[in-house]
Symmetry: C2
Subunit: 438 residues, 2 copies
């Protein structure tokens, strides 16, 4: 016997009972169907990458799980260092770089897979979790239309899954970088990194860090904070608001044109669904243009549930080529576990079984099996009760698992089949070669 | 830039191009559908278990990958030891033990998930691989009918996937243990472990080990080898063959009755599909009754592609309860990669896209998008070409990815939609609100 302790859940590694897993599985099927409806092709990558590949792409403040062979002799050496991937973007970039000659570009892939982070578990933060990603990578510039299409696809997914109201905040790194440069700040990336913390430390905290870490003067800091305060759904107003701050520069103008285009494309969506928010930066170092982050509209303190953006150099940096990309990632586990916790996932069945063929008194195994085989052959999910038990126990089994129908197979030469609908309680004669569940 | 070396495949961690992954994904969908058609419910377990749980269940000669947090301070301690699971049976047993009160018994689950072993990669042996398992666990004795149903379901899967002829070898641990005990051998489990190596070391090797390790006499060894030589498809003949060896005992008789029942149930299947083989033992310590192993019929040297059996104590040993189980596992990666390697997987498409809406000369983004939206809304997998390019390039893109149809959206007020079938070359007028791909 193992200590009871060892059987307990491990914090940050979620597991579901079958009735909940069936809902999660249905979610994944729905996400897959939507991704495929836009022509994204499925790939999976291995779960591990060389440690060097994972660390190179920044995000090194995330804890990474490295692998160690348990029976390996101490100091045997020779084995390269591998670690579990912490997202699906970096592995996808490596995959594209490694398979360059076998892929057709623009390469559009989706990937629904687990990832791991050794973070301290807390609400919405897991150590093992499933991400659902779409990305487009090309060997030439990627049209800006994709910048609007990616968050629109994710919006469609959120609507289909009925997760409740969400808001997608959109910004553009070129606007931020161009604006800061226009202010005469060289360390634009450092400013982005600090402004990205505004959610957590507030404007005052950002101002303090900009003073302490970067020695920016008060006038510059005021402008940085004014920019970060701009948000709105209307492309013209938002871009006008930025221009009104009186900063200029080529990169800034390019970023504003892009942000304007993307917001215009999304103006037809319901109010509140998409918002330009000049405080959004995304922590990851590799983004270069449009960035997204999606939150539950009514839960501002809950972490981001989807995120992504445009990265011009992530893939290409592995090969020294021009391979721009754009992508967005759905934090499936974060969203799903939140809804489970809030009691918004209402499972009804513990099994996919549509009909349980029971073992009636006096019936033979062959009679029961024949009915089950006939139903199953017609595509009906059919479970066969494998031993003669009291009918009450067999009915309780069906009822406890949420099986909607119980089949009473014909017994003996004169027997007739009957089926009972456990929801309505109705029982009637039925023919296994034609009957269909409601 | 990363060293080229770091982009290369990692031995034992397979990855597929999209066109191959699409076939693998279709396989998994098919397996899921068959498992669900028998009423198995889906679960997934976390990828890690406490090291103690993994090691307890034997199979310790398999290398296990433990996790190590990369940024953890040396000697920080406190963190329990977790490792990646090496199969799906032990995690399922732990899951059942942990969720005992939330499950309805008999608990029938399927699980399609990755597992990891730090083995030296070789043909058919991977470090990361996907298994497809079904198991039944109950709080009371499990009827013998399941012992016949489990390999029959796997046979149905192998037929559906068209993997080529397979042979399922069946034995019963009680027959082996009862027979050895009847010979007066106390170390029955040690004999099983040694006989299991017959495939690799031959009868002479087995005889030598039985002499050297267990000091069995020649007459006993002769009987052990005679038993291991018995095989056949007919229940009566096989059981008669064992009885003719003149060994007796209660456990042996019970095992022979079980083996007879299972083989009789399977006699209706095509010749060669199921074979009783008294040399089959399965390496894992937890099996107690029926055991299975499936191989490619024409590839005797290729490793086992599916395996399983009955385990009376695996789950219960975690809780000190009676929780017998029976299950079988399909080595998806092993089977699939073999067929890929042999050129038996013939992918036709690199994308799920059914129709590419091209960007014709003079067309606007809105016109192209409108056609794509109309088609997609009707459930057709539709990709939209996101920039105006030469038609030849757009057609080449569709053709390279294996997209079967290209849509030419209506341009201008008088424009009309047309669609081209890239297989037949036919092009004709079409209405996006009614057209359906062939």
């Amino acid at each position: 016997m193992i200590e009871k302790q060892k059987l307990k859940p491990i914090s940050g590694f979620p597991e579901w009972t079958p009735e909940i897993r069936m809902v999660e599985q249905a979610w994944i099927d729905r996400i897959r169907a939507i991704f495929e409806s836009y022509g994204f092709a499925p790939i999976e990558t291995r779960s591990v990458e060389p440690v060097e590949v994972l660390l190179k792409q920044g995000d090194t403040d995330k804890e990474i799980y490295a692998l160690r062979r348990l029976l390996e002799e101490e100091g045997a050496g020779g084995e390269p260092d591998y670690a579990l991937h912490y997202d699906l973007t970096v592995p996808m970039a490596r995959y594209v770089a490694a398979n360059l000659n076998d892929l057709t570009f623009p390469f559009k892939r989706y990937q629904i897979q687990r990832a791991w982070r050794g973070e301290r578990p807390q609400e919405g933060r897991f150590r093992e979790f499933t991400q659902c990603d779409i990305d487009v990578v090309d060997q030439r510039d990627i049209p800006l239309h994709f910048d609007a299409e990616m968050p629109a696809i994710v919006y469609e997914v959120m609507q289909a899954l009925e997760v409740g109201p969400t808001v997608t905040r959109i910004n553009n790194r070129k606007v931020l970088e161009g604006f800061y440069r226009g202010l005469g700040v060289d360390a634009a990336h450092e400013v982005i990194r600090i402004v990205d913390k505004q959610d957590k430390i507030g404007s005052a905290g950002v101002a303090k860090m900009l003073t302490d870490d970067l020695a920016l003067d008060d006038a510059t800091i005021a402008k940085v904070l004014e920019l970060a305060a701009i948000r709105g759904a209307k492309a013209d107003e938002v871009v006008g608001g930025v221009r009104a701050l009186g900063v200029s520069g080529e990169l800034l103008e390019q970023g504003l044109d892009e942000l304007h285009f993307v917001m215009r494309e999304l103006e037809a969506y319901p109010e509140g669904a998409f918002l330009a928010d000049l405080s959004v930066a995304r922590g990851l170092a590799y983004y270069t243009g449009t960035v997204y982050e999606v939150k539950f509209a009514d839960e501002p303190d809950f972490p981001t549930i989807c995120g992504g953006g445009r990265y011009e150099n992530l893939v290409g940096s592995l090969l020294n080529k021009h391979l721009p990309g754009i992508g967005i990632s759905i934090g499936l586990t974060r969203i799903f576990s939140k809804l489970v916790k809030d009691g918004k996932i209402a499972p009804t069945r513990k099994t996919p079984t549509e009909v349980l063929v029971c073992w009636p008194p006096g019936g033979t195994y062959e009679e029961i099996k024949a009915a089950a085989v006939a139903l199953r052959r017609r595509g009906i999910k059919t479970e066969q009760f494998h031993e003669p038990r009291k009918m009450k126990q067999q009915m309780a089994y069906a009822s406890n698992k949420g099986v909607p129908h119980v089949w009473f197979p014909a017994v003996g030469a004169d027997g007739a089949h009957e089926v009972k609908n456990l929801t309505t309680g109705e029982q009637q004669a039925a023919d296994p070669s034609v009957w269909t569940p409601d």
